[in-house]
């Protein structure tokens, strides 16, 4: 920290060669791990390597992966949200409960989405308006949302109408609809983050909020917007999960926050903000599915999966920090 590099060479330091810029980045690591995971899983079980099966397995986490894409943007902006999994559960419960009470389906969907938006607004209020650290705030809202879902649904599972069931069985060109939605959302968000002015500003806020403020970027507005979008998308994901499962309980995607954070981290999103890509999270979502599906189909204990998840998370942040430290100088 207090060391300094020799002065005169600094200014004249050559730019990193293009291959360095393209290859030395966390996404490359994610991609390599993905290939490695594919090969490893194929060795673990002869039943693994089957596109249909992998796609079906991906549908099981597609909702969470979609949320993780938005979460990536929140993390890049320098905040974090640990509550989207609980938000998914609560929105889905509210949706199912409302329609169970006789409200027409489309209106119930809207109510569910609005609930998610309200949850996003609560997070935004506490972390941006009240300037409390979002990580602690969202631990609080995580417990709160999950608790409310429990109050609403108790231990019951609330059924959704048959006509609403089966989003995962809708195939588009042989690909389950949730996967298609995930890919589309990834492309959309990738475009927003990578090619629009707002996307650029998200990186700038996450890199240095003060500098962004001084450059006339309305950091608060953008962050509030991100929390709201995250709330809304979480709700949509929760309702998608309801359609896939046919019923809703308060424990929907219990503990999913860990997986979502893991997807973002594994994709190279920097926990302190300012760095990361949608592509990284996109790859990481597949990586996680392949790792966990490979282990499940090999009938490995879920214990091993938990352990692997924990290790992956820690290794991912260490590796990301390391790569960024190397490329930042």
């Amino acid at each position: 920290m207090m060391n300094s590099t020799p002065a005169p060479t600094r200014e004249l330091a050559p730019a990193r060669p293009t291959w360095h810029i393209v290859l030395v980045r966390p996404e490359t690591m994610t991609f390599l791990l993905l290939l490695f995971g594919l090969v490893g899983a194929s060795f673990l079980s002869p039943f693994f390597l089957d596109a249909g099966y992998i796609l079906r397995s991906f549908t099981l986490t597609a909702e969470m992966s979609i949320v993780a894409l938005v979460l990536t943007m929140v993390v890049i902006s320098g905040e974090i949200d640990l509550s989207p999994a609980a938000n998914m559960a609560l929105s889905a419960c509210i949706f199912a409960w409302v329609q169970d009470a006789g409200v027409p389906l489309p209106i119930a969907v809207i109510v569910g989405l609005l609930a998610g938006l309200a949850m996003g607004a609560l997070n935004a209020f506490m972390s941006i308006r009240m300037q409390l650290p979002s990580i602690i705030v969202t631990i609080g809202t995580l417990i709160f949302f999950r608790g409310l879902a429990q109050v609403i649904a108790g231990d019951r599972s609330i059924r959704v109408p048959d006509s609403f069931i089966g989003i995962n069985n809708v195939m588009i060109a042989g690909i389950p609809l949730p996967v298609v939605i995930f890919v589309l959302v990834a492309i959309l968000l990738g475009l927003v983050l990578g090619t629009t002015a707002v996307g650029r500003q998200i990186y700038q806020i996450g890199t240095n909020q003060q500098a962004a403020l001084h450059a006339g970027i309305n950091a608060k507005k953008i962050k509030v917007g991100l929390f709201l979008v995250l709330g809304l998308v979480s709700a949509a994901a929760g309702i998608m999960a309801a359609s896939r499962l046919g019923s809703v309980r308060y424990d929907l995607v219990l503990g999913g926050e860990l997986q979502m954070v893991l997807m973002a981290m594994l994709g190279g999103t920097y926990i302190f903000g300012g760095r990361g890509t949608i592509l990284g999270t996109f790859l990481a979502a597949w990586l996680l599915v392949i790792v966990s599906t490979g282990m499940t189909v090999a009938n490995l204990l879920p214990a091993i999966q938990l352990t692997v998840l924990g290790i992956l998370l820690i290794v991912a942040i260490i590796a990301t920090n390391f790569i960024y430290a190397r490329t930042q100088r």
């Binding site: 693994f48 099966y53 108790g154 599972s157 019923s247 309980r249 219990l254 009938n299 879920p302 938990l306």
Partner: protein, 309 residues
Amino acid sequence: EDIDIVFVGKNTGNPYFDSLTQGFVDACEVIACNFEFVAPATAEATSQIPFLEAQIQRGVDVIAISPNSPDALNQVFQSARDQGIIVLTVNGDITGNEQFRDATILPTDFTKVGADQIEMVGSLIGYEGEIAILSATTEAPDQNFWIEGMNETLANDPKYANMTLVATVYGDDQPEKSTTEMEALLANFPNLKGVIAPTTVGIAAAAQVVQSRGIADQVKVTGLGLPSEMREFVKDGTVEGFQLWSPYNEGWLASYFAVGLKNGTMTNEVGGTFEVPNLGTITINEGNSINTQAALTTFNADNIDDFDF
């Protein structure tokens, strides 16, 4: 060709399933089947789905499962059966969605559990006084079914006319909550004579409260529990008697039935019968439901050491 059977438990680390699994394992050493046990880390509604998908992918012949949800698994069951996999629910059913499984194997005739439990507590308190129920979760389907039976028995059988059910509370199958609920029962109903806890976590928690307060002679605890967990309380006199069935036999029977079905030596017709070693003749009841034993086993100081689950 051996039949591949997989049993998907509610969650790992649940001692109840250790014994049940052992039944499968032992049966598959006798008859032509391969057995594997898998279970998610938590008993959450959807956590069994990836495991089911994996079994479908592996192309097993029979999936036996203790379902964590009465309806969230329907879609997966459907696709399993579309592939010709036999789906058996074991130790719990998907009530209201029976069309998604082939048969259910339940440890005993659940319609009789309520009456048996009332008789049990009645015998302990001299058929007189206030009783309460400490159940699992508010929505637990089996427990609610039994509690309904208890209420009916109390209302209709004159033998129990002097017994009043003062409260039904729920400990959510968590030791902490079950304990505070039990304490609240004792506080709210000072004249309480007996407590039925038809769930293994609840009965242990209730017994512990009574043990710690030293009021075993005033409040009788009974219900459904595992001998291994209750042995201590029976030995020190905290609990005089409680009931359960044999989880082991469920696994044993399920294996025989599964292999029989797959080989075509048994059929899945209501009213049909088949033979299972050690268990005798088994009948397929209404709703493709099979029971491993006719009535609950009662455990007390005399016989508790004979059971090791």
